[in-house]
């Protein structure tokens, strides 16, 4: 057992696993647990097959194109949620829609499997899982201690998975409108970061830029809410004036 490899793999993998768990929990709470968990299981299955087939050749898998495609898809979808969240909070207030799986009928039809939630979780788990697998192979083969690297990464998945499983009820208490805004900001953050990485962008602070990107997007969302109310009032006043002017002409 190589303790140094085990600890360094644990922490390196933990960064990726945090992102994985955050996506699965957010999609589960905001859309559908069934779709999110099936998506996560699908992602793990694909990952297992990849690891079994490629083995140590995983090191040669080009991660940049994968990050670019997954990041761009998360970015466009996250933006849809982000702007809908801003618009709906501005229109309906913060407290509308509280509950575990209170999914908007406009987003998912009744009694239908939520394929969007499935795809989001699947992509998050398969991309982050692939990065964890690459870390294991890189750390493990460099020090000739693949077993220790596997235990370190498995420990990160176990510990952070448990954290996600025990804290999801706190996330579920957030009203759906607010959740849509924050999850949208989070998916947009991951999408921005990964697609940038896919294009070889050097983010200031590397992985830490996830924090300032998320903080910046949430701040923009919060600033846009009162502004959207002002736009709505201005539009209403203008339309009211047009109606009055039309009535006077008639």
């Amino acid at each position: 057992m190589n303790g140094a490899v085990l600890v360094s793999t644990f922490f390196a993998a933990a960064i990726e696993v945090i992102e994985m768990v955050a996506i699965v929990v957010s999609v589960g709470v905001a859309r559908s647990w069934r779709a999110s968990l099936v998506g996560a299981a699908g992602g793990l299955l694909v990952l297992t097959v990849l690891v079994a087939v490629l083995g140590t050749a995983l090191r040669d898998v080009p991660l940049r194109p994968v990050r670019l495609v997954v990041g761009a898809l998360l970015l466009v979808f996250g933006l849809q949620w982000f702007r809908k969240g801003v618009f709906r909070v501005a229109r309906d207030g913060w407290s509308v829609g509280q509950g575990d799986e209170d999914v908007d009928p406009a987003d998912v039809g009744p009694d239908r499997f939520d394929w969007t939630g499935f795809v989001l979780s699947f992509k998050g788990v398969s991309l982050e899982g692939l990065e964890v697998a690459v870390i294991v192979v890189a750390f493990g083969t460099a020090a000739h201690a693949v077993g220790s690297a596997v235990i370190g990464a498995a420990g990160a998945v176990l510990v952070l998975g448990l954290v996600g499983a025990t804290t999801y009820r706190l996330v579920a208490r957030i009203p759906r409108r607010a959740l849509q805004l924050f999850v949208g900001a989070m998916l947009t953050t991951f999408g921005t970061f990964w697609s940038g990485q896919g294009l070889s962008v050097r983010w200031p602070g590397d992985e830490l830029s996830l924090a300032w990107l998320a903080a910046g997007y949430v701040a923009v969302g919060l600033l846009l809410i009162p502004q959207a109310r002002r736009w709505r009032d201005q539009a209403g006043a203008r339309l009211g004036g047009e109606h009055l002017a039309g009535g006077a002409v008639r």
Binding site: Q80, R83, G216, A235
Partner: protein, 73 residues
């Protein structure tokens, strides 16, 4: 017939996933990605373009949606 229906549902799903109800958002993301690639290609700092594009298109799209909603009410 079933295959065609499945294919159509598949295409509709991805169009909805990527484009949604405002195609200008997806178009802006594609343009910003291309711009980022271009900046990186000429060895200029490129990290700022994607976040800036996100903020601008979110603001424009929310404004457009609010005005459309006010007209429909």
């Amino acid at each position: 017939m079933i295959v065609l229906r499945g294919l159509r549902a598949f295409v509709v799903f991805w169009v909805d996933f990527i484009i949604g109800d405002d195609w200008t958002v997806a178009a802006t993301v594609v343009a910003a990605l291309a711009g980022t690639w271009g900046l990186h290609h000429v060895h200029a700092a490129a990290w700022w373009l994607l976040p800036l594009a996100v903020v601008i298109i979110t603001t424009i799209s929310v404004r457009r949606t609010v005005r459309r909603d006010a007209r429909q009410r």
